[in-house]
Amino acid sequence: MSFLKTYITEVYGAVKSLLTGMKLTGYYFTHPKEIITEEYPDNRLTLKMADRFRGEVVMKHDDNNEHACTGCSACELACPNGTIKIINKFEINAEGKKKKAIDAFVYHLELCTMCNLCIEACPTDAIKMAQTFEHSVYDRRLLTKQLNLPGSKIREGVE
């Protein structure tokens, strides 16, 4: 008799434990408002990334197409992967002196791990992380970018 009693208790306990779990599943099934799924890419227009999200490195330019990069190569040295390559040129300024300026700030997005070390290293705050994340392209050569805009020059007073 005791065998039968244990058997029934066990079956009752087992069924109860399964129903407890099913109850929770049932609760969320009937309360769809508690679902937090984001339907990307349908929400693309309203999707806002966090301010600090690290998507890619960009160079800050103001309205006069001027940037703050002096070409000091601190970011190039700080980068663990060789993502950044700075090509410098010498410009002759109004006083006839030679002055170093960047010719091209080459950025290899395909090598970048978004570690933020270049932005930390920049003494003039010339580069920043952009919040873009849809980087896929059909040709990987397109991932090598020149960050300084054509015709841009260094802002006055930045040393």
Partner: protein, 371 residues
């Protein structure tokens, strides 16, 4: 080695478990000798995801090498970074501002919860329960959002730097973490309701993959794997680093040593982490988030070792310095590797269906095992 493995006795069969495509993430290959359905021998075959992180570190500066460790145990990137930052700080004797210490512990414990969440969901999914995965990810999503806002990334944060943290916490951080605590406390009970009490789950977990206390010590297992066997090994308790010595929390111990004990340890650890966060979230001191350090870090000549408690166990960082700007040698003692080595012992004599139940409770992260 392979010839040895491949020659089977009569009646024994060798099967290979695990994907072998190098582009998949977390590739673990197991060579299993079966007698009928019973596992006679199990041999993990590593090397599919080896990226030679230790060798790479030798050519990187002490600021740069930290980012690579986010890619080791990617579920606990903060804690890996913390270990490296602590080693460098120990070697250079850098004093960390109080605020930085508190922020570090806060994000570390959030990471621990996120890691255990993912383990909980994946483990239940391995055993055939699909919906727990979505419940686990619902909470984990909140943590990754908090991380994204403060650290700028969801998985490979690189937030800890020698001397403190990379940036101050986001203005919304405190509020969002408080919301998360309230939300999480009600939802951790849902986990017990959904999985822990489930009869099918219990039958598959209890008395499976038993690891005795002696074996747990001799295989060098750490973390929840060893604590499920009753070995007291929480580095936060026995060798407190950072400000863990000042905090109130319990080391979770279970004595059964089976898969269910390891499961319980992890679920209870989530509750302990929440209590640590509760203690700190209202008491973040004012001040700097980073100590002033030199632009180029140079470690003095010598050997330095620091260990921390990751969600999977003890992580050790060993740096040999020759006084230059790059390390001479770096060795990481990863928790997963030792835990995996105990798998053969635990699974012998069990049915092949129990393999996932045992492997799941080890919480293996393959890039951590195979650096």
């Amino acid at each position: 080695m392979f010839e040895e493995v491949a020659t089977s006795k009569e009646g024994e069969q060798i099967i290979n478990v695990g994907p072998q495509h190098p582009a998949t993430h977390g590739v673990l290959h197991l060579i299993i000798t079966l007698n009928g359905e019973t596992i006679v021998n199990l041999e993990p075959n590593l090397g599919y995801i080896h990226r030679s992180i230790e060798k790479m570190c030798e050519s990187l500066s002490y600021r740069q090498f930290i980012y690579t460790t986010s890619r080791m145990d990617y579920l606990a990137a903060h804690i890996n970074n913390h270990a490296c930052a602590l080693t460098v700080e120990k070697a250079m004797q850098i004093e960390i501002p109080e605020r930085a210490e508190v922020i570090r512990i806060l994000v570390s414990e959030l990471t621990r919860i996120a890691s255990h969440e993912l383990w909980w969901g994946a483990m239940a999914m391995d055993l055939g329960a699909l919906s727990p995965f979505f419940y686990a990810f619902r909470e984990r999503e909140v943590i990754t959002d908090i991380m994204e806002e403060t650290c700028g990334a969801r998985l490979t944060m690189n937030y800890m730097v020698p001397g403190g943290v990379m940036a101050d916490i986001h203005p919304n951080f405190v509020k969002r973490v408080k919301d998360f605590i309230i939300q999480f406390k009600s939802r951790i009970d849902e986990y017990d309701q959904l999985v822990t009490g489930n009869i099918i789950f219990q039958n598959r977990m209890k008395n499976v993959g038993i690891l005795s206390k002696e074996d747990a010590i001799s295989y060098g297992t750490t973390g929840p794997t060893a604590r499920g066997s009753g070995v007291s090994c929480d580095i936060r308790k026995i060798y407190p680093y950072s400000i863990y010595g000042k905090l109130q929390f319990d080391e979770v111990l279970e004595t059964a040593g089976d898969s269910f004990a390891r499961y319980l340890v992890r679920v209870k650890e989530m509750k302990q982490s929440i209590s640590i966060i509760e203690q700190l979230i209202d008491n973040i001191p004012e001040g700097d988030f980073q100590a002033k350090t030199k632009a180029v870090l140079k470690l003095p000549k010598g050997e330095f070792y620091q260990r921390v408690e990751t969600p999977r166990g003890e992580l050790g960082v060993y740096i040999v310095s020759e006084g230059g700007t790059t390390p001479y040698r770096i060795k990481f003692r990863s928790p997963g590797f030792s835990n995996l080595s105990a798998l053969n012992h635990m699974i012998k004599g069990h049915k092949i269906g129990d393999l996932v139940a045992v492997m799941g409770t080890l919480d293996l992260v393959i890039p951590d095992i195979d650096r």
